[in-house]
Subunit: 198 residues, 4 copies
Amino acid sequence: MAKHTRLTPRKQPRQERSRATVDAILQAATYILVKSGWAALTTNAVAERAGVNIASLYQFFPTKEAIVAELERRHIAETRAKIAEVYVRHRGDGLEARVRTLVDAAVAAHLVAPELHRVFSDELPRRREETVEEPPLIDRADKSRLAKGVPQPALASWLIETVAHAAVHEGIVERRSDVQSGALADELVKLLVRYLER
Amino acid sequence: MAKHTRLTPRKQPRQERSRATVDAILQAATYILVKSGWAALTTNAVAERAGVNIASLYQFFPTKEAIVAELERRHIAETRAKIAEVYVRHRGDGLEARVRTLVDAAVAAHLVAPELHRVFSDELPRRREETVEEPPLIDRADKSRLAKGVPQPALASWLIETVAHAAVHEGIVERRSDVQSGALADELVKLLVRYLER
Amino acid sequence: MAKHTRLTPRKQPRQERSRATVDAILQAATYILVKSGWAALTTNAVAERAGVNIASLYQFFPTKEAIVAELERRHIAETRAKIAEVYVRHRGDGLEARVRTLVDAAVAAHLVAPELHRVFSDELPRRREETVEEPPLIDRADKSRLAKGVPQPALASWLIETVAHAAVHEGIVERRSDVQSGALADELVKLLVRYLER
Amino acid sequence: MAKHTRLTPRKQPRQERSRATVDAILQAATYILVKSGWAALTTNAVAERAGVNIASLYQFFPTKEAIVAELERRHIAETRAKIAEVYVRHRGDGLEARVRTLVDAAVAAHLVAPELHRVFSDELPRRREETVEEPPLIDRADKSRLAKGVPQPALASWLIETVAHAAVHEGIVERRSDVQSGALADELVKLLVRYLER
DNA sequence: CATGAATGAGTTTTCATTCAT
DNA sequence: CATGAATGAAAACTCATTCAT
């Protein structure tokens, strides 16, 4: 029953042409996912939109899922990069500074490709098993430091991450202007700081 | 003639026999959704598991989506009832009491049928158009009162609802024991109260 | 999204192999239509008789109707050719010669594939909208000349075309031998000439 | 394979109520046939529109075809009556009088229920075997008398019936106003008389 | 490698007809 | 007899994936 689906691309494209093909496929898949959703994502549709032959598609991706997985992988890589960037830029040692960094990271991560992000988190039929791992919004070490001192550190740590993520994630869709103006981030920082101090 | 995506049942069952049929269909659909997810929910699978003929299924539901919609409708009715119950039982006028009520309501709502709830909110391909409306976790009037006095009442009101919902929703899956022990609720109350008081 | 009832083939076959597939499909459809009628024309039956996979059929034809439409298109092309042939061969300027040409054309048209013709005109559920256009049996210019001089030219013109067509059309089925011997054509010519002269 | 479909109603309705049921069924069938065509004529649709239970429908008609057959039978009875009426009223012994009678009969017959007539003759999947027999437009004796004297009496007799029928039949659809004004009948009489005299 | 073609195995949905009460 | 319910059988159409050249 398991069918042991590999989620890795079949082969690395070596030549220019191949890389272009793979990119075309991934772009087409992205477009379809964002525009029409998971149900419309058929391999034939992807191939057609990408302008490549369906058999060529299977030269590079062993299954449909592999395409999506690769998409996620790339998306997550970009996200991680953005988060890292924020962590590098911002610094400061007070509680508020550190919380703000984490919120900014969450916002930056979600602004990489909001629609695609939405599709990934809301619409894809999740396999519970093999999944590409999502990047945590907060540096592990930092998280511990933040939650240190509060009565239930593990729970608190989980809570702030969950809350920060949810607020930004939903906010992107439901409160876009507040996200862009920074108002949402400000409120969120306030909420987290008050929770964490003392 | 235009396949009018009806989400309502085609006809009500009148006799005992057919009421049993409809229930069997809904139970089967629930089982499949929870166990195997949306992708596995085919009308044939539902009919087979329900032990009814596929044509009988179509006597009562015009499409697959209508089955799910009915499931949601029933789930939401139960959820609403549970929330109302909490609001009736708890009372108290202090900020903390009111926040606790709201958190308890969220927890109660999520404990009605956690797996099904997860499927509904995480896995279904959402139609942007017609959707069964989800019940808010907080009484409207109450929400306004809670957020009154803070600088950005509308944003704050949205934030506390989003945060409460997300924490409970994710907690049910990732922190089940903390939910059941009440620890998560306690932390969440602390977080919200500190944010709201002054 | 609206099932756009396309009556045109989905794509042209490019290689020998697929041309054979398409031909097999069309032949099978013809066979079934003639032998068993429209009601028996199911895509599954066509595919099976053609010895091709049902999915292959759908690679080339978007709907059952498109198959029939293609059949009609081809049939009409042949018919037109036959009619043109008659018009080229025969000539003569007297009334009788012109009438005989028209009758001969009608007969020739109906002898291209009588059974198929019968199916097309008697048995298909006509869509009022998009339909493949039937070729007129009579050259427009010729028709006008024929009916000129009579009191109600438009009506007369319609009448002779209708009458000629009907006589041959019914005759093919009910009076085949008279059609083949030429006796029916002779009578029909007599009928039309007497009507038109004066 | 033959399934031996009886085309006669299962039982004669004895009571008032039953007769009403049967009539409702036949009316509903007529409505659907005329409005939506043969393809839409499903037993379920007929029962629903007639306001009777599907099982009741099968109390009176053994198959779907039996409904249509009964419809045809009634239509033909009415048609026959109308034709007979014309034959009784009109009289006169000259060729033209007799031809006019026959044309009038054809027109009268077609005006009984033109839409239904069209459905019966153009749209129904004809079984070649068992069919309800259509009434000839011309009295047999009369036909012989008309065609007597011409060289090929049998063929001529067939021809005039075919031609008269076709002209009226097509005219009802394509030349309705000419039919109603009598112009078409006049032309048709002219055509037939000229053919028959001598 | 690229491409056109092919296909097994579904999926949704309908319909004529019968059954149980 | 009437009614609600049930159903076998099939129809139209799709899709992920492989094959042949």
